[in-house]
């Protein structure tokens, strides 16, 4: 198979050239610092931009599932400026100081949540040569970093000194810690299949076919389990009992206002994106184009589409799947949530792991 497409859009040489050019006019530490700042700003900008896109998409998709049109007045046809207006509004709101809250933890919690989200966000394989945090245990790092977010949620719930927030945080904590198991095991399944924990390596191992096709039955089952557990991890319906409006007003972020609330909101949507992005990386080949063995003309056309388009396209497809699930099913009770995880998903994912390992050993995966 012709592998030239892997180099076609590879931006690693370009980045190396820029680095060398910068090193020739300034010391290396300064060049590294400047590059770090630029990349950091790009991450935060993309984070905010994607949040806006996701919120708009959520509102439109949700509306369509409820047989409505959704926002269509602000900003001409289609309500394109609706979310910008919402963001401007939330920026003008006051950040309220609670009297009996634990001041330090109360202010720290939203930053922890957003920090976990941004760190995980920068691990995603955007493009060939454009991985931002690149290490040989990448996927393990993602699992670890995303768990910091639970800490933020628990702290937010506890430090607000309110019953709603505490109950919401405890529910969320119990749920996320449970579902972390399923996520871990399904991720492990795909690590078994690719033979590496490096995110770039996992993507590169799929150059001759995406994992979901190569791994057939166990991979598809793992994909479904990962989607369910990932949905729970992102605290979204039908697992949104941490912020069940009818019972807990808003759950763990009831007492937050202004941009602190905005951070929770942003992190919730970006966690959706990150969950989908990891699913894309593990199962749908990251930025790898779609290939059908034998159709060389078709494959060549697919190669001309840049990797970032592939990555975003696949990720938004998975986001749509998750939104479909969210707007179809009613919320689960806390005992049902835990039953689903411990009695169904966890045993299922263990079986999948064993099946996948057996398939890999006997060469039954492609």
């Amino acid at each position: 198979m012709n592998q030239s497409f892997l180099d076609y859009y590879n931006i690693a040489p370009l980045l190396a050239t820029i680095h060398e050019a910068m090193c020739s006019v300034m010391p290396e530490w300064l060049a590294m610092t400047l590059e770090g700042i630029v990349v950091g700003v790009i991450i935060i900008l993309m984070y905010a931009l994607l949040a806006i896109v996701l919120i708009y998409m959520e509102r439109k998709v949700c509306a369509a599932f409820q047989c409505r049109i959704g926002p269509n007045r602000v900003g001409g046809k289609g309500g394109l400026l609706q979310v910008f207006a919402d963001v401007l509004k939330i920026l003008t709101k006051e950040i309220i100081k609670l009297k009996k809250a634990d001041r330090l933890l109360y202010n720290l919690a939203p930053y922890l949540v957003i920090l976990a989200s941004i760190i995980t966000f920068s691990c995603l394989p955007w493009h060939n040569g454009a991985q931002i945090l690149h290490m040989n245990i990448g996927i393990f790092f993602v699992l670890a970093a995303s768990s910091i977010g639970i800490l933020g949620i628990l702290l937010a719930g506890w430090s607000s000194n309110s019953k709603y927030t505490l109950i919401g945080a405890v529910r969320s904590g119990a749920m996320i810690i449970s579902y972390e198991l399923s996520i871990g095991i399904t991720v492990l399944t795909m690590v078994v299949m690719s033979g590496t924990m490096d995110i770039h390596g996992i993507v590169m191992s799929q150059e001759n076919g995406w994992n979901i096709f190569k791994g057939h039955i166990p991979a598809i089952a793992a994909f479904i389990v990962y989607l369910i557990a990932g949905n729970a991890e992102a605290n979204r319906g039908p697992f949104d009992l941490a912020e069940a409006e009818q019972e807990l007003t808003a759950g763990y972020h009831t007492e937050y206002s202004g941009m602190h609330f905005g951070f929770f909101y942003l992190a919730e949507y970006l966690n959706l994106f990150i969950t989908s992005g990891i699913a894309t990386t593990l199962f749908l080949g990251g930025w790898m184009p779609f290939h059908i063995a034998g159709l060389d003309g078709f494959n060549a056309v697919m190669d001309y589409i840049p990797g970032i388009v592939w990555f975003l396209g696949k990720t938004f497809f998975v986001v749509f799947l998750l939104m479909w699930i969210r707007w179809t099913f009613p919320r689960l009770r806390i005992d049902q949530v835990l039953t689903l995880e411990w009695k169904y998903l966890m045993p299922l994912s263990l079986v999948i792991l064993v099946v996948m390992t057996v398939c890999k050993i006997y060469g039954l995966v492609f």
């Binding site: 369509a64 047989c67 269509n72 479909w324 707007w327 179809t328 099913f329 169904y344």
Partner: protein, 156 residues
């Protein structure tokens, strides 16, 4: 074994019902949306059902004739005094005394759209239309006179 088969049965029946739910919501996702974009579509796609009761009118034909004989049944049927039929006795050409409608007053502000007046009318002189844009700035403008200027009873 029994509990294991029950477990598997529960698993697959749950999966099936989830898939049915997802199929249903996808159907809704793809079907045309029901939202009415009201002020924009008022001259194009706006549909108000024929039988919607929004405003009482008295029917007039092309020669400005109505069918109201001023019997006052509608006024008596009205549960909250919305209708006031003002009539007078007049002599016609044959010297017979007859009740003639002078003014048919209707207060849109207090009407509860129960349709008892329309049901009570023996001649089908009044009816409800679906003309629903009745908002006005002053309360007085809700007091309507239903018989047109210079109208008279239709000849049989």
């Amino acid at each position: 074994m029994n509990s294991f088969s029950r477990y598997m049965k529960g698993f697959f029946s749950g999966l099936k019902s989830l898939l049915i739910g997802m199929r249903t919501s996808m159907k809704v996702f793809l079907q045309p949306k029901v939202t009415e974009q009201y002020p924009e579509n008022r001259h194009t796609t706006l549909h108000i059902p024929e039988r919607h009761r929004a405003k009482l009118v008295m029917l007039h034909d092309a020669e400005n004739h109505h069918h109201c004989i001023a019997c006052g049944l509608c006024q008596m049927a009205c549960p909250n005094g919305t209708i006031k039929v003002i009539s007078e006795m007049r002599e016609d050409e044959e010297g017979k005394k007859k009740k003639v409608l002078v003014k048919y007053e209707y207060n849109l502000g207090s009407c509860i759209f129960c349709q008892l007046c329309v049901n009570a009318c023996p001649h089908g002189a009044i009816e409800f239309t679906n003309d629903f844009e009745n908002a006005v700035y002053e309360k007085d403008k809700l007091l309507l006179t239903l018989n047109h200027e210079g109208s008279s009873l239709a000849k049989k």
